[in-house]
């Protein structure tokens, strides 16, 4: 995608809310989708560029949500500062996780990271004096203001999440085009060869993990502010967060700039509509549909939607969309 097209896309995204009810259902879904697109983009740094399929990003996400909310509850500290504190903790957590999982590959890496996030979930559920335990935490209400990251209208959150997505995407692009991006691709495609031509594979993987973990934690704060309430199982949950983020990127196109957005715009509304339409019929039906769709996606389109969209665009316009190759080269 060219600069001009990207600019038009952002303009379009800025204008969408004008056509929707400011506190309505649809804008809420889009807001959530943008948040998950941003999370996907942060995950993409590790999952897409370094080729390490993390299933533990809920650890950072929840850490960010808890850090800013606890600072707000106990000390009245603005979530902006809480977000930075969460980002630092998320980076530290990602660094600590890298140490034991550094040399793991494929399934083993996925399992190790999954267990790591579960550790956080168990601790958050158990350490009730700090976290409120399974009951969860409520973000205290204050006067709506940008300084306290609280708004009356979902529309404002929409712009917040849009800005977050654009910011994380810019970081992604900077990484892709810089030294780190080249080195990450080398690590992904041939770790031994990368080492022999001078790439410090350990450090490169740690850098990617720390940036990704830190961004994910900061997005956790935004989630807490959007939702006003959360509990350990929702923010540290494997299915709710870790697997969902990975799924979004994989469906949209792993390692690509627009993959996370595509994936989030498909998966999040799909989940929401499935919930609305099926939840009343019978308990479990919407989840069942979701699981079946997941299986169907894997069986039908293992390369992801971006690949599919690319083929489609190539057929329509006769030329290949360049967004994907740009993100890769």
């Amino acid at each position: 995608m060219t600069m001009r097209q990207t600019f038009l896309l952002i303009c379009f995204a800025t204008l969408i809310p004008l056509a929707l009810e400011p506190n309505g259902y649809y804008i809420r879904i889009l807001t959530l989708a943008l948040l998950f697109a941003a999370l996907g983009q942060a995950w993409n740094i590790v999952g897409g560029l370094a080729g390490q399929m993390s299933l533990g990003h809920a650890a950072f996400f929840g850490l960010g949500a808890y850090t800013s909310t606890l600072l707000l509850i106990h000390f009245g500290i603005s979530p902006w500062i809480g977000m930075l504190a969460g980002g630092v903790l998320g980076g530290i957590a990602a660094f600590l996780l890298s140490l034991p999982t550094m040399r793991l590959k494929g399934h083993y890496f996925a399992l190790g990271t999954l267990a790591f996030a579960e550790v956080f979930r168990v601790i958050a559920n158990t350490w009730s004096s700090l976290t409120g335990g399974p009951v969860g935490l409520s973000v205290p209400f204050s006067e709506p203001s940008l300084a306290m990251l609280q708004f009356n209208e979902t529309r404002s959150y929409y712009y917040l999440m849009l800005a977050a997505f654009v910011a994380v995407s810019m970081i992604f692009v900077i990484i892709v085009q810089g030294r780190l991006g080249y080195r990450l691709r080398a690590v992904k495609e041939g770790p031994d060869a990368a080492e022999v031509i001078g790439v410090n594979t350990t450090r490169v993987k740690i850098h990617a993990a720390v940036i990704s973990g830190s961004l994910t934690a900061m997005l956790g704060t935004l989630y807490a502010q959007l939702n006003f309430f959360f509990d350990p199982d929702t923010v540290f949950g494997a299915l709710q967060i870790s697997i969902r983020i990975a799924l979004i990127v994989i469906v949209g196109g792993i390692g690509t700039l627009f993959g996370p957005l595509l994936g989030a715009l498909l998966i999040i509304p799909l989940e929401e509509f499935a919930n609305v339409m099926l939840a009343d019929r019978a308990a479990g039906l919407s989840q069942l549909t979701y699981g079946a769709l997941l299986m169907a996606i894997v069986l039908l389109q293992p390369q992801g939607l971006a690949e599919f969209a690319k083929k489609l665009a190539a057929r329509i316009s006769g030329k290949v969309m360049s967004s994907k190759t740009e993100a890769r080269t």
């Binding site: 810089g178 691709r185 080492e195 022999v196 031509i197 890769r328």
Partner: protein, 241 residues
């Protein structure tokens, strides 16, 4: 006498019960082209991998320009000027030829200047015309050349070439031999593992012979060709020299 550029003392490598290298000692001086020959399984590739740090030696010492680099990680050794190509060719298949080479240049410079130098390296090995192709789509001889260009891009002092002439025809082989001689003119020191005896004999100043992980001979090509143990172990059976 000057300190040799690359000196190896008593190098041994053991994998479980297999003694892949035992007590290998040799030295390579600046500007030399040295051949390393030996039957399949003699330990040539293991020796290269151990020298660049992919394997940690069980015993012994490797020094580069007098500096002990034994047991250091490969990227540190590469930054010190020793790198190698891979026998089975290990390119980053999803990236373009230029990007493959560019990554080697990141040891010393940022992306923009590494890109320019990477183009120079591609010109050097005569494949600048395929810079934008995907590395996964190349023929074997092309890939071997990208390997060489990528290694050159790290600005090595010593370059270990592991069978870069495999699958080349005579004309292509002569080109590579010419390239190796040119590299030496620029001050590079080269160690070559190769099965083509003609190539090895014509380009090398000295030849080491490895058999069952041990260095059994060391000398100029003419001397090696007559060495009884070498003829017995390797040359006599497979080649007429």
């Amino acid at each position: 006498m000057n300190t040799p550029l690359l000196s190896v003392e008593g190098l041994s490598k053991r994998f479980g019960g297999l003694q892949a290298l035992s007590d290998v000692t040799f030295a390579v001086n600046t500007g030399e082209i040295v051949g390393l020959i030996g039957p399949n399984g003699a330990g040539k590739s293991t020796l290269f991998s151990t020298l660049v740090g992919l394997h940690r030696p069980s015993a012994g010492k490797v020094a580069l320009n007098g500096r002990d680099v034994t047991g250091l990680r490969p990227h540190v050794i590469a930054a010190n000027g020793l790198t190698k190509t891979f026998q089975n060719v290990s390119l980053f298949a999803g990236s373009s030829v230029l990007d493959n080479v560019l990554i080697g240049g990141l040891v010393h410079s940022r992306v923009a200047s590494a890109r320019g130098f990477a183009m120079d390296c591609l010109k050097r090995v005569g494949i600048s015309d395929i810079a934008q192709r995907s590395a996964g789509s190349l023929s074997f001889p092309e890939r071997a050349r990208v390997e060489v260009a990528r290694a050159l891009c790290t600005r090595p002092k010593v370059l270990l070439l592991d069978e870069v002439m495999a699958a080349l025809n005579t004309a292509e082989m002569d080109e590579v031999i010419g390239l190796i001689r040119d590299l030496r003119k620029d001050g590079l020191t080269v160690v070559i593992v190769e099965h083509h005896m003609r190539a090895i004999m014509s380009v090398c100043d000295r030849i080491f012979v490895l058999n069952f992980g041990q260095l059994i001979a060391d000398g100029p090509p003419a001397h090696i060709a007559r060495h009884p143990e070498v003829v017995e172990a390797y040359l006599g059976r497979e080649h007429d020299v």
